[in-house]
């Protein structure tokens, strides 16, 4: 049943790409996007069925003789990612027609976007190395074109360039990793490689794993390979950013999972340790840069880095537990990683779509120019609030459930026999705890400054709901709530997936009586998201019920909010985003090394010095200290070798002569 659904999805997306080419008029734009949404629905259902079935289905397309056939294989692991792909494209399908206005640029964009979706599908169902690599590269190229939608704006070219360049560097490493494995296994087929991986010498396997981790890490956005993410994701159109952050970086995670669990299962302990260290550092660096960010979409991009770090930490911890003979915990953390993939994809896509709505309604992305959006845009604010509560991991939403499970898994680090590893796992949990706290802080800042309070600019004051897409983001908000309350059902499905991948039967120690989650070992802790949701709703309604029943004696008198009695409260008397984040900025000053400049009109101390301007700029650490030296080194080497390209035709004729002599000599022998 899954294979036909996936074919339907692929066909729908191909049709959408074709229709998109004609999207210079509104009806065709709607048709293309609805086709895209239909493809998303088919993919979603197909993914769910695939995950539940626990078995892989394969198909082979064509019989090309040079590089092998286009083998396709839909595994349950891919099923979890296909669900995410389906959900995100379904929502974007309803969002895009109301966000883009029809025209030639939009037509090209819709076509390219659907091709990117198709390429992502191909990556997930690739059955052999060639298919995977071709699909991966197509996905990268299509996504670059997606980013370049508004190529005349500032920063777009730079972002697309970084995306493409670093994506290619990663791709080279991924090719190397695949080539190592394929050569040793004498086959290009992924299932054959997985079966024969045990025979490959450990040194080669380790090299392949490290190459894959770094190569896929470029795409996933692990620190310090992440610098393209905050440059590229903000400059794409909102639905493009949602697709990039919601799905594409998860493809990097899929690649890491493919190597860690399918192709190269059972590695030494240091693989898991390295992955987890990568993940933890990524998480905390990501959120630290997010907290001081003023651009709404850049803020969300850094938050994506943080969440990818959390997912990769879960993957690493899973590998670590498995290699230390704790298969239940290993499987549990893999479930957590997959669950967080789906959760984060959902609410990050939702937040990016809402950021697009905000940008269109108010004309600015700067949090410090927004404010009071809740008054003019009720529905969007509520939807954004659901997304914010989800990503800040507040109960009873899905982010809370997946982060609770992650921490419960990590807290059981004491079950590992090696004390050092146990302490390191708990250290990682502590750093992730810091991350979670900072995430709440960062999103309280972003949501509070942008949506609540008074408008800080005319654009924000005039922001209205009319004409903005609501159904698409609303669908994702409903998905967030469903993923939370229906967490047991999701976990049952993910248990099937993990059983297919690792062979570990987790169900008896994962869910108790079908509604309570326990982390892989009994008597440690338990959580029932369904009961929690019911309880929280009841507890919130109880005071209202008591109030309504008690019927206060006097009449209700409404007066304005107490503001300290000042004559008039102006918008620029409010907290700004920078002041809210100031404690964190001061505490982590060594990381930010802010470049602070204060301009005064005069030095009159009696308060008559005129306007004072305060500029603070966070230093881009990784660009300055890691990438620039590398780039400078490469440029230096290239400059030294420049004499080869002298432009002198006699020199080139000499090269041809040398090559001819060498070829003749080789053939002589």
């Amino acid at each position: 049943m899954t294979a036909p659904l996936l074919w339907v999805a692929a066909a729908a997306w191909l049709a959408a790409a074709g229709l998109g080419l004609g999207a210079t008029r509104a009806p065709l734009l709607w048709a293309a996007d609805l086709a895209s949404a239909a493809g998303g629905l088919a993919c979603l259902v197909g993914g769910v069925l695939l995950a539940m079935s626990g078995r892989a289905t394969s198909a082979v397309l064509g019989r090309g003789d040079i590089v092998g056939s286009l083998g396709l294989r839909a595994t349950p692991l891919a099923g979890a990612f296909l669900v995410l792909l389906g959900v995100v494209t379904l929502a974007i399908g309803f969002y895009a027609p109301r966000y883009h206005s029809p025209g030639r640029g939009t037509a090209a964009y819709v076509c390219v976007y659907n091709l990117a979706v198709l390429a992502s599908l191909a990556v997930l169902v690739a059955g052999n190395v060639t298919t995977f690599l071709v699909a991966w590269e197509s996905m990268t190229l299509a996504c670059t074109l997606v980013i370049l939608r508004h190529h005349r704006q500032r920063g777009v070219g730079h972002g697309a360039f970084l995306f493409l360049a670093l994506g290619e560097v990663g791709f080279v490493m991924v090719i190397a990793a695949f080539v190592i494995l394929a050569t040793h296994a004498h086959s290009l087929d992924l299932s054959v490689i997985a079966a024969r991986a045990g025979d490959i010498p450990l040194a080669w396997r380790s090299t392949a794993f490290v190459l894959a981790l770094v190569g896929f890490g470029f795409k996933a956005g692990l620190v310090p390979l992440h610098i393209w993410l905050p440059a590229a994701h903000p400059v794409a159109p909102a639905d493009g950013s949602a697709f990039l952050s919601g799905l594409i970086i998860k493809l990097g995670v899929y690649g890491i999972m493919l190597f860690a669990f399918v192709l190269l299962s059972h590695g030494p302990s240091w693989w898991g340790l390295m992955t987890m260290a990568f993940g933890v550092v990524t998480a905390v660096v990501g959120i630290l840069y997010a907290v001081v960010e003023r651009d709404l979409k850049r803020f969300l991009a850094y938050s994506s880095i943080e969440n990818v770090g959390i997912i990769v930490s879960a993957v690493g911890a899973s590998m670590l537990f498995t290699s230390h003979h704790r298969p239940l915990l290993g499987a549990f953390l893999l479930v957590v990683a997959l669950y967080h993939v789906v959760n984060h994809g959902t609410y990050k896509a939702l937040l990016f779509l809402e950021a697009g709505v905000v940008e269109h309604a108010s004309g600015t992305r700067d949090i410090d120019r927004l404010g009071g959006l809740v008054h003019g845009m009720r529905a969007s604010s509520v939807i954004a609030l659901v997304g914010t509560l989800g990503i800040a991991a507040l109960p009873p939403l899905n982010g809370f459930v997946s982060e609770w499970m992650l921490f419960q898994g990590l807290f059981q680090g004491f079950r590992v026999h090696s004390h050092v590893i146990g302490v390191l796992i708990l250290l990682g949990a502590a750093v992730l705890g810091l991350t979670a706290g900072l995430a709440v802080f960062a999103f309280a800042r972003a949501f509070g400054t942008a949506f609540l309070g008074m408008p800080r600019s005319a654009g924000a004051a005039n922001a209205r709901e009319k004409g903005q897409p609501i159904f698409g983001p609303g669908l994702l908000a409903a998905a967030c709530v469903a993923l939370a309350i229906g967490a047991p059902a999701v976990l049952i499905a993910l248990d099937h997936v993990v059983r297919g991948v690792t062979g570990v039967q987790l169900r008896p120690v994962l869910l108790v009586s079908n509604l309570t989650i326990i982390p892989a070992h009994k008597n440690f802790s338990a959580l029932s998201p369904t009961y929690l949701a019911v309880f929280l709703v009841a507890v919130s309604l109880a005071p209202l019920a008591i109030y309504a029943a008690s019927r206060p004696r006097g009449a209700t008198r409404r007066v304005p909010v107490w503001d300290g009695g000042i004559v008039s409260y102006k918008a620029d008397m409010q907290y700004t985003a920078d002041t809210f984040a100031n404690p964190v900025r001061v505490m982590f000053e060594r990381l930010y090394r802010p470049d602070i400049r204060i301009d005064r009109a005069s030095d009159d101390p009696a308060g008559r010095s005129g306007p004072v301007h305060y500029h603070s700029k966070v230093q881009p650490l990784f660009e300055r200290y890691l990438y620039r030296p590398i780039v400078r080194f490469v440029e230096g080497v290239a400059r030294r070798l420049q004499w080869i390209q002298s432009g002198n035709i006699n020199q080139y004729l000499l090269y041809i002569l040398i090559v001819l002599i060498v070829v003749l000599l080789i053939y002589a022998w």
Partner: protein, 172 residues
């Protein structure tokens, strides 16, 4: 307050007696006071603030000071209600939930020196309905305490005045 000659208060009538009863039942346990300075010289403010010091210790009587008008029962106003503070005063009064009391402290809000100053209202009862008037410049702590206790209705009747000569005889 021993040795004091008590004379029963004026002829307030049924309505006043009922008001008294209500205040007594509503405010009997604890009282939250919000002070506002509408342009005074801060002598009254100092006297009020020093009521919290150990010598008089207002808090053991159950009277507390709060800056939030939403939590306050009593608004103590010092100063002649200058026009610059009028908005703040009205906002503070509006922000207090009913039932509330207004206490005018000192000679300024009672029509003292600045009665016909053009930058002030002069008398507090031109701006807000006043429940208790505490005279003095600044009022003695005893007067302030008696004013607050009057506000709570713990003193059922108005006590006319207390002479220190009388008082000194009682404590000897």
């Amino acid at each position: 307050m021993t040795g004091v000659t008590v004379r029963s208060g004026g002829d307030e009538g049924q309505l006043a007696a009922r008001l008294e009863h209500n205040i007594h039942t509503l405010f009997g346990r604890s009282l939250y006071v919000r002070t506002i300075d509408t342009g005074s010289c801060a002598a009254c403010e100092s006297e009020i603030r020093l009521l919290l010091a150990p010598h008089y210790d207002l808090q053991r009587l159950g009277i507390f000071f709060t800056p939030a008008p939403r939590h306050a029962d009593v608004l103590m106003v010092t100063g002649p209600v200058i026009r610059a503070m009028e908005v703040a005063l009205r906002k503070t009064y509006d922000a207090m939930p009913d039932p509330k009391l207004v206490v005018a402290v000192g000679a300024c809000p009672l029509g003292g020196v600045y009665d016909d100053d053009e930058f002030a209202w002069g008398r507090l009862d031109r701006v807000l309905p006043v429940d208790v008037y505490i005279p003095g410049c600044p009022p003695s702590p005893l007067a302030l305490l008696q004013g607050l206790l009057l506000a709570t209705g713990r003193l059922a009747v108005k006590i006319d005045h207390v002479s220190f000569e009388v008082h000194l005889e009682a404590t000897k």
